[in-house]
Symmetry: C2
């Protein structure tokens, strides 16, 4: 396993598109909104088994679960008038309709594969361009609701898990350095007050004045560098206190596999230790992709959907413990 596949959880490319001649979504009449929605739906529905979900028809739990899986934005859920999303069968592509822009095409793939994500979203983009007249200016490029997205309309990002840099307190200075290089680093927090604390989304800040390849390359470079820093920091922490760190890692594994009650906040802490153990080779993991998917699977809404029934907070913590123990046992030795 490459270290970067352990550190980069997922790679994402998003393209912002708008329909020519229509007001932006927040000022759009429902009729017009549903008009282009039908067009996009017709273009995609027979490819890659896309399904259409209208925000007006989804209950809160399912909306929250899609947000937890990063398939839709919290903002989209607020547009219950004409907000919608099309998602393909393996959930690697999601096309939000009537979010900030008319169309937001995005592909998320597991692990470190920004160009793979770009290839996927480009195929969807080509298909949409083939049937929808998009707002495009020869000088500026694609026109978008927010000026920062004008141009390529592209945002490429990686989701990184950085416990060593976070714990050693080095993230703030790295965020500053990356910001100076026109990158945006955003700490990703779970729903509610709990947060993982170790998750960061690194993306390009501006999409105007740079070509697609340039953007992909810049995010790629930033991810590789951050991964190297994380590996150095992890080794430094380990070499500085091998016994205590090994003990903490192995206990974290034991607790995740045996606890009867598992609050989300504690889950993140133990999980960070287990991930560190995998990165250091102290724990063998047969499927890092599946390991990473815990970070979504154990969140409240997704856990509730897996259970198939509403739960009290305590019941959820018990189910989280059960789910974690069972599924970890299948991928850790």
């Amino acid at each position: 396993m490459r270290d970067i596949d352990n550190t980069v959880l997922s790679s994402r490319v998003r393209l912002a598109r708008n329909v020519a001649g229509l007001p932006f979504p927040h000022k759009l009449e429902s009729e017009a909104a549903f008009g282009f929605m039908k067009k996009v739906s017709d273009l995609l529905k027979n490819t890659d088994r896309f399904s259409l979900y209208l925000m007006s028809r989804l209950d809160d739990l399912r909306k929250k679960a899609l947000v937890e899986r990063h398939l839709i934005s919290p903002d989209l859920t607020k547009n219950s008038r004409c907000g919608a999303v099309m998602i393909n069968a393996d959930e690697s592509v999601a096309v939000m309709l009537n979010e900030e822009d008319h169309i937001r095409e995005q592909s998320i793939v597991k692990g470190f594969d920004i160009s793979g994500a770009y290839e996927r979203v480009r195929r969807v983009d080509d298909r949409i361009i083939s049937g929808v007249s998009l707002a495009y200016d020869d000088a500026l490029g694609f026109l978008t609701s927010c000026p920062t997205n004008v141009g390529t309309g592209m945002r490429a990002s990686v989701m990184m898990f950085l416990p060593a840099l976070t714990r050693s307190g080095k993230m703030p200075s790295l965020v500053k350095a990356l910001t100076a290089k026109k990158m945006t680093v955003r700490g990703i927090y779970g729903e509610g007050s709990e947060n993982s604390g170790y998750l960061y989304q690194i993306s390009n800040k501006i999409s105007l004045g740079y070509g697609e390849e340039e953007i992909l390359r810049s995010v790629n470079t930033a991810a590789v560098r951050l991964c190297e820093f994380e590996a150095e920091e992890r080794q430094a922490l380990y070499q500085g206190n091998k016994i205590a760190l090994t003990d903490r890692i192995m206990r974290a594994k034991g607790i995740l596999q045996n606890a009867y009650v598992l609050p989300l906040g504690e889950f993140f802490e133990r999980f960070a230790d287990v991930k560190t153990g995998v990165a250091l080779g102290l724990i063998k993991c047969r499927d890092v992709g599946r390991l990473n998917s815990f970070l979504t699977d154990v969140l409240p809404a997704n856990l509730t959907l897996k259970r198939g029934a509403a739960m009290t907070e305590t019941e959820r913590e018990i189910f989280r413990a059960e789910y974690t123990a069972k599924n970890l046992a299948e991928i850790l030795n």
Copy 2:
């Protein structure tokens, strides 16, 4: 599994005997001491594969290991002039020579089986009586160095593991009640400052004026009652907080099976939780006898002998963790 087999770790019967016409060991000439020692040795050596160990020939580590296994007393180790012990092959019988009395015959068997221990020690006693003239008074019975042992010379005891009664703070009043019934309750501590805190030896206080059967019965009754109290207290603790106790128990199991460093004090705490889990049926254990043997196996000297090499404190804590994880995995599901 009977609950009492989980609570009573071992049963022991000891008979104090002295050779007629000889001063007690602390005033005994070496020549005389070795004289009766040879006699006893000759009587036992061809039965049950007894081996003779002279304190003068054992190194400190091996002496300490025998003390940890309750096969000899700390006092015996101090008599490096003519102190000795004969131990049979399965270590269920140990005959100390020149401890406080000339001969201290004892049998320790696993679990709750006081009469089984008595049967074993009686066979050894018969054999010794057949060849050694013992100090015996028709009115008083067997004569011993300490007056409390005069009479039957017998002390019957059980080693009990009582985490619920200890944690709920009920032991002091129970000890008082048992003391009033002429029983002795002694908290058993490990070597050094660490202690299990949950181990108690319950025995008869006086051996004069009571018949053997009466003593066995009284210890038996005390053990059964204490076991019932422990079970009631355990259930009360469990019913009062099922979720939190289950969580603590399962985490303790996970930590004992995964920790990389395991200090003795922590071992005892986690072990008490695991034992409680077994008693409550939350953890399945295929071999309670082997589970109980951890309480001896992980002590410093025995652990060092198992490793076969001297260790620093940290190395020992690492080896204890390794030993515990490996052996627990074989008996817990």
